[in-house]
């Protein structure tokens, strides 16, 4: 995942549970959210190209999109060392944020490989 991860910056610890009260460093939290956004955008572009090359059409392609988003979520969770609460304030951030944001990029790059004769090698 380190190779695919577009942003080189590491996630910073943004929360510490002092006295059972979670405090969050806002700047680090923002940095982490940015990283999630970049990762999702990049993965949706790659996923679009893959879907196009494999020739998926219709519903199958969207299933692939959701699969890619799920893989991104799992990858981000793994990079955060599975201790989500010290990097983000709730699970929903890392799971659902930006889910549909990459959809348009996905569709755009999904259409590219379907051009005629662009990948004639694969047609055979």
């Amino acid at each position: 995942m380190a190779g695919l991860d577009d942003s080189g910056a590491s996630e910073k610890k943004s929360g510490e549970a002092i006295n059972d009260l979670p405090t969050f460093n806002a700047e680090n939290m923002q940095n982490n959210m940015k990283i999630i956004y970049y990762s999702r955008t990049f993965m949706s572009i790659i996923g679009g190209v893959i879907a196009g090359i494999l020739g998926f059409t219709g519903l199958t392609g969207f299933i692939l999109y959701f699969l890619v988003m799920a893989i991104t979520s799992v990858g981000l969770t793994a990079k955060a060392g599975f201790s989500i609460h010290s990097y983000f304030d709730c699970w929903n951030r890392i799971m659902l944020d930006g889910f549909l944001g990459g959809l348009m990029s996905f569709v755009l790059f999904w259409t590219y490989p379907l051009f005629p004769d662009l990948f004639c090698l694969f047609k055979k």
């Binding site: 577009d6 006295n19 519903l59 259409t111 051009f115 005629p116």
Partner: protein, 246 residues
Amino acid sequence: MAEDLVLDTAIRDWVLIPLSVVMVLIGVLRYFVSKLMRSSQSPDAKIVKEGQIIIRARNLRAGANFIPPKSFRARRVYFSNEENGLLYVPKGQAQNAQAQMFSDPNMAMDMMKKNLSMIIPQTLTFAWVNFFFSGFVAAKIPFPLTQRFRSMLQNGIDLSTVDVSYVSSRSWYFLNLFGLRGLFSLILGEENAMDDTQRMMQMSGFGFDPTKGLSAEKDGLDIVQHEWALPKFEQRAEAVLRKLVS
């Protein structure tokens, strides 16, 4: 029903790829132009002071639970005291700042420049697409859509039996417009990610921010209920020290 139209490679070479390339280049160009055209405005001292006061008040509100009650109350009084509190602005002055914001020629020019740099490339490119690339099937999108999208996606094509997946170049333009936003945010860094909708929201909210900001902060500060979040702190410190000593 679903005839498999074979699209000419010439279409691909001369329409689709150039359109995408042009849009990417225009985006990059616009980013650099906006960077160059950003005139350095010398910030008004009063506005900066107000901004800093707002930030301080906000920090106080955020960290209210971590300071003892008495000191929080002392700070709050300092801010929202009727006579000489920092956040207390008499009504007359508040109106003034807003009017000043809008009639300031520099500010208006800046906003206009930003708006224009957003709108003009889009309009030009759209007109170019319409003029040159209309009337034929441009691309095939990979998923099927209902008949209702036909009028939206197949603008120049007058055959009604063609599958809705075959779209005209206008819809290819829009697809590029939305899809390249993500790409721009990756290659151009954080700032200019072609967020025109965000710009518009910022524009409408900009004029009101400093004026209503003070009274809003004051109200927010008044509302805060202080909850002492570190009651056991001394015990904790004692435990830590014990561990260190022993």
